[in-house]
């Protein structure tokens, strides 16, 4: 694996962490709202 591929791998890992982390965060916020509001 050359340097360019290594950088690409790092960027993809950051992207995956960001996007799935973001979705999980929003899901978590909605779950906490569900637990506290009269839905």
């Amino acid at each position: 694996m050359n340097e360019r591929d290594r950088q690409r791998r790092r960027a993809l890992i950051v992207f995956q962490i960001f996007i799935y982390g973001y979705l999980l965060l929003m899901f978590g916020i909605q779950l906490s709202m569900w637990a506290t509001r009269n839905w």
Partner: protein, 394 residues
């Protein structure tokens, strides 16, 4: 055209001296075409919701043909490119269908029943004050902006890019990459919008939060496509009109994938990741088909069909939405409907109960399994009793 196994085997055989490169290209083209017929038929059915369950076997058969041709040494499109291309078309097509209907088909009976039912089950944005805005059905804040942006720009672009991607054209790869990043923008913005207006989206509905996530998580196609698009060997895509066979031949001759039993475009260092992405894509594909095929029948039964007719369900949902027993679903709705001709169905109705504030909170009750049937029957019985009491005995 059906390619006999002997033909495939001959093409694959290293000792097949009688097969010229031109023959091989022609065999590859025919094998690709044959698989695509099944894949296209399957995708069209899968995009039609309920018949999707019939489309899946056709699609899988097409994939099998493609794999056989590939194993036989023919130069056909890689499985990953095929899966991503068709999944993007399916994903964008299903979204496009739902949102165009919400924009121009929002007074049809089937839409007022099944799509407001989806709203009542998992996303109140498609139930709350439905058909009260000047255009389109959903009244959730910001929803129309997403719908217009995606109908006019993102989804047509995605479908066009995916078709070119399936044709192994360079611009198809480039534009699919661009539109997949659009997909990231949509997901990030849309989910934030839902969370901001969570009371409208989730108060009083059947399956708050979980329903929407279970249903919509199958649309994460861009997140699965992006890693592949950034790591595939771009030499397999070509500007050449006859790009399929030419580009594959280029890759094979470049030796990047050849000899390792890897599909064209997949290099050794990314093979593991491409394998995982393929599994994720298959899960999304099957998930979309299952929810497309079973959600609408499930909703019809949940809300009382066949005991109640679609028109009855439409009326009962209106009564619940606006807390008003006197409302009836107007059917057939005059054509062409609003905004071209007349006001939307909900215009001027002021009986809906909401707790108004910076965040409106709907006050309609949660509807249980076939509860509309009970509500409907009780009201009919009560009205009959009132009528009988008011009628003087002879």
């Amino acid at each position: 055209m059906k390619l006999p196994k002997t033909t495939l085997a001959t093409a694959a055989s290293p000792t097949a001296g009688s097969v010229t490169p031109d023959d091989r290209i022609e065999q590859s083209r025919l094998a690709q075409r044959r698989a695509d017929k099944w894949l296209i038929a399957g995708t069209l059915l899968m995009g039609a919701n309920v018949p999707g369950i019939l489309g899946l076997p056709l699609f899988l058969w097409g994939l099998r043909l493609l794999r056989q041709a590939s194993k036989a040494g023919l130069s056909v499109r890689p499985i990953m490119v095929t899966l991503i291309g068709y999944l993007v078309i399916l994903d964008a097509g299903l979204n496009l269908q739902g949102w165009i209907l919400d924009m121009i088909g929002n007074h049809t009976l089937i839409y007022r029943v099944l799509y407001t039912a989806i709203g009542n089950v998992m996303d109140g944005g498609y139930f709350w004050h439905y058909n009260q805005l000047w255009i389109g059905g959903a009244s959730a804040p910001g929803e129309k902006s997403w719908e217009w942006a995606c109908i006019l720009v993102v989804f047509p672009m995605r479908i066009a890019a995916a078709i070119a991607f399936l044709q192994m054209k360079r611009w198809g790869h480039q534009w699919l990459l661009v539109t997949c990043w659009f997909g990231v923008v949509i997901w990030v913005g849309y989910v934030m919008n839902m969370t901001e207006y969570a009371d409208i989206r989730f108060a009083g509905i059947v399956f708050p939060v979980l329903g929407w996530w279970v249903f919509d998580v199958m649309y994460i196609t861009p997140f699965l496509a992006i890693p592949y698009l950034h790591t595939v060997n771009r030499e397999i895509f070509s500007d050449d009109e006859k790009s399929m066979s030419a580009s594959n031949a280029d890759v094979e001759s470049s030796g990047e994938s050849a000899g390792d039993d890897l599909p064209p475009g997949t290099t050794k260092q990314w093979a593991g990741m491409h394998n995982w992405l393929k599994r994720g894509i298959m899960v999304c594909l099957v998930g979309l088909v299952i929810e497309g095929a079973f959600t609408l029948p499930f909703l019809a039964v949940w809300y009382g069909y066949p005991t109640l007719s679609f028109r009855d369900i439409c009326s009962e949902l209106m009564k619940v939405r606006y807390s008003n027993e006197s409302l009836e679903c107007r059917y057939p709705y005059p054509f062409p409907g609003p905004p071209i001709n007349g006001a939307p169905e909900g215009a001027g109705i002021t009986t809906a109960k909401d707790q108004w504030g910076i965040q409106p909170v709907p006050q309609y009750p949660r509807l249980g399994f076939r509860e509309l049937v009970r509500i409907h029957d009780q009201r009919i019985a009560r009205q009959k009793a009132e009528h009988d009491a008011a009628t003087p005995h002879p």
